[in-house]
Amino acid sequence: MNTKVLEIINEIRAAKGLAPIESVNNETKLREDLAFTSFDLAELTVKIEDEFDIDIFEDGLVSTIGEIYAKLA
């Protein structure tokens, strides 16, 4: 699961011309640390939904990687 999420994050970063990141932890902030815009977050949701069938933003905002993991767990 964690590898897949990291893979998706790096796909999104690559399209923006950003270097891949090697790892994330529970505290990694989506906007601040990963430089994600709302469009990036939307892509992240769609791709996570494709993979895990869960809409991570369905019931409110998610701001860290840890909160994503919690939804997927």
Partner: protein, 403 residues
């Protein structure tokens, strides 16, 4: 003279025999076979009997006001004897039939529209220079575009070759075997024929209609059919064919120019040009076509289509025209077909997504396409999820299906 090549070959004599002296027909005929379908249609029209055209795969429950028991129920009428096809054509041109057709239902339940022979054949060209043409029949015969092609070919007693829904190899084989001269089809149909392998010189006229096309496709068609003039046609279930094509623009004929208005970029059509339907809503006798256009030369009635009104996708407050994005994707080398759509999303309302079908021998990644698009389009117009698909789903009328 051959009338139709399908699984079997039918001559105009076969057609005459099927019609002349027959005193029964099907007012509501559901069949997958083209010859009996056309024979029944011509028989009804020549005798001025009412006719309802329904898809071969439709159930009565899918359309309003049609009972399953009405379908394929024979009805008697006063038989007519015809000595020649010329007589049949003349009778058809004078027909007083009410012809009911249905929209393809891409935006909900199929809607019923009643036409007369004059709205259906308004743009048929007749005369010696139209004789001897061999048409690839690439449309569903129960819908407007298929009817337009059919009447053009039939009234000139041309030959039809059925290629609707056929595979690429089969289409090319028919073009060669039957020496097809005319093709009228959707851009989706022509994209099936890509990539260019060799020229087919028998084809002298290529017509595109029903969807937006793009320069990449025109260029490819120009290679595949080097002898062909390429033009566009605009036909709707509501109005039939209305405009003449001028390059990538359309021109409103001068004599009906006062029958059109443009409000908020949307083309409005006067009701005198339409068939009749309870589903039509008019503002001061003008019908909202849902087609968004831009004037190229308003004085001359010259315009270009931009998109369908209800197709715009709202992405985080930005309005995206999927046709524009599709064109940009299809301009990338190796892409055969693209479909852009919105997927409901809790952050943006919609996320822009694309299904992409590649040409054989090409390997593109999602990142390749995004990188390409970023040089052409604003960020919000770039699809955030790109799926590579083997096949695209088509509607009954052979257009790309928007879910």
């Amino acid at each position: 003279m051959v009338f139709l090549y399908d699984n079997e070959t039918y001559s105009y004599d076969d057609l005459l025999h099927a019609i002349s002296g027959s005193g029964t027909y099907f007012p509501l005929y559901r069949t997958k076979e083209l010859f009996p379908f056309f024979a029944n249609m011509i028989k009804a029209l020549a005798a001025s009997m009412p006719l309802t055209l329904i898809d071969a795969d439709i159930n009565a429950s899918e359309i309003d006001g049609v009972e399953e028991s009405d379908i394929n129920a024979e009805q008697a009428f006063e038989p007519k004897i015809y000595q020649s096809m010329d007589e049949v054509v003349a009778a058809l041109q004078q027909s007083r039939s009410e012809i009911t057709i249905f929209t393809s239902g891409t935006t909900g339940q199929p809607k019923k529209v009643v036409h007369s022979i004059s709205t259906l054949t308004r743009n048929v060209r007749l005369g010696e220079k139209y004789a001897g043409q061999i048409w690839a029949y690439a449309y569903n015969p129960t819908h407007m575009a298929g009817l337009q092609v059919f009447f053009q070919a039939f009234e000139n007693q041309n030959t039809l070759v059925n290629v609707f829904g056929k595979q690429r190899d089969e289409v090319y084989r028919q073009i060669t075997d039957k020496q097809i001269t005319h093709i009228s089809a959707t851009p989706t149909f022509y994209r099936l024929l890509l990539p260019f392998e060799k020229p087919y010189e028998s084809v002298i006229r290529v017509t595109l209609g029903g969807e937006k096309s793009d320069q990449h496709l025109y260029d490819a068609i120009g290679q595949i059919f080097p002898k062909a003039k390429i033009n566009n046609v605009y036909a709707s279930t509501e109005a039939g064919s209305l405009f003449a094509a001028k390059g990538d623009c359309f021109q409103i004929p001068e004599d009906i120019r006062d029958k059109f208005k443009v409000v908020d970029d949307e083309l409005l059509i006067h009701k005198s040009l339409l068939g009749s339907s309870e589903s039509f809503k008019f503002t001061d006798d003008f019908y909202h076509s849902g087609d968004l256009i831009e004037w190229v030369d308003k004085e001359k009635g010259l315009f270009r289509f931009k998109s369908r009104k209800n197709e715009l996708i709202n992405v985080g407050g930005y309005k995206v025209n999927p046709g524009e994005v599709e064109n940009a994707i299809m301009a990338i080398e190796g892409v055969r077909q693209a479909l852009v759509y919105g997927k409901a999303n809790s952050i943006l309302g919609n996320v822009l997504c694309a299904d992409v079908q590649l040409e054989e021998g090409f390997a593109l990644t999602e990142l390749d396409i995004k990188k390409h698009l970023s040089t052409q389009l604003q960020d919000f117009k770039i699809p955030r999820r790109i799926k590579f698909v083997e096949e695209m789903t088509l509607t009954r009328t052979g257009k790309l299906k928007r879910s």
